[in-house]
Chain length 140, copies 4
């Protein structure tokens, strides 16, 4: 038998709050998704003005980050033409996201959640995801 | 040209709050999904202990209620064997939910959102969806 | 933060062994699927002669049992025409199985896995799933 | 009428054993999938710590290798931008894998199975898939 930890709803709210405040600061309404460590959705918020396409993209970025224990921008680098993981972006019926903006949430060396952001540039998405994690970790 | 109204994120939070408080009162941790009037997700919360299967089911109940402008329990009655809408439960790749627990949110005669609840019995799910709407309307 | 337990690969092998021995005893080659507590596949075995359609069915029965914390035969009863959960069989793109043969694996009151069997009659499938659980619990 | 050969469950266990031992030796817990010559799953094992995203990826690598009678790394080369099979990675709803780690299992010049590995680097995945085949062939 294995023992694990995963975030609860209160943790998910902190992750969202941190990401939302950064999104407001840069003036980009975002879709923000939080999954547990297995990639299953725990909380989601589409800020007023967040894109409809970004609903699924944010959820799938969070899924990828948690379930693969890897930031989506790492896959971006590894899946460029000529690179070893080229073509992985269409795996799992297209759910495996290689666009930046998905980060695993790590506590004491363990992945306990995933956060995925979408609606801005990939760089803005990743920045807001990191802001969510920073805020969450600062509150613990 | 058409003009329409839809809930914003603050409205969605009220809908969730009302549903969550009822869920707590009856002791059943729920998945709670809110969509806009087009059926696209605005907010989602999986209470601690909510079922993993209920993530998709709650989202699809809210989608059905908003996008079809019809409570899912109305489809339940209409889709029984021998009834005119028999078999509609598998439509839209199974997204059209006929299990109770999805309600359109109506303001001034217009559907402005959908709420979908899952993890309890269908009756409990519907009760919590109604509680979300009641709380939301009382705050306006 | 939440803490929980899930089966490891050694546990999954015991669950499969128990189910396979019963399947051999009744002379029906089965597909046997084991998921973790979140419904994600841990181990799978298609006995020689197991049906190809049963690959997905067994995996989805195990998924349903673990992720909904409910035996699939309970859904069978609850989803008959006229019953409250009628029509739920097509939910989650048809992954929610209401055919008997999927059981949650419970240890100390906690769901730690799901087992799903397919290729026989629903009754045979359920019997082999239970045999897997009995064998697993007897070895602990 | 056609006659063909395919692996049985005992063969599948040998393929998994060979791959698992290599995975242990290099210290990377893997998802290991074995399909028959038609691409249908025969056996699957997620080693403790194997990634959740890799469940589907391993199964789809084995599917691709068996059903296309081609190693997935051959598709990687052939599907680079400007190459004839460019874009094939998203075929079959994303099931056609072009990432290394899927190999057809060939006996007497005939494809009798597919093996797919995921959770490491593409190179590690391919190495473990080959180790599975080598072990299997050595036992015959």
């Amino acid at each position: 038998m294995l023992t694990f930890r995963r975030i609860d709803q209160a943790d998910a709210r902190l992750l969202i709050e941190g990401a939302r405040e950064r999104a407001k600061a840069i003036g980009v309404p975002m879709c923000i998704a939080i999954t547990d460590e297995s990639g299953n959705l725990v909380a989601f918020e589409r800020m007023d003005g967040g894109k409809i396409t970004s609903i699924t993209i944010a959820i799938d970025k969070a899924f990828t980050a948690a379930a693969a224990k890897k930031a989506t921008h790492e896959y971006s680098a590894a899946s460029q033409p000529g690179s070893p993981a080229y073509g992985i972006n269409s795996a799992i019926h297209g759910r495996l996201m290689v666009v930046p903006g998905g980060l695993p949430v790590v506590v004491d060396g363990e992945v306990v959640a995933g956060i995925g952001i979408s609606s801005g540039t990939p760089g803005q998405d990743q920045d807001c995801a990191q802001a969510g994690i920073d805020f969450f970790l600062a509150q613990r």
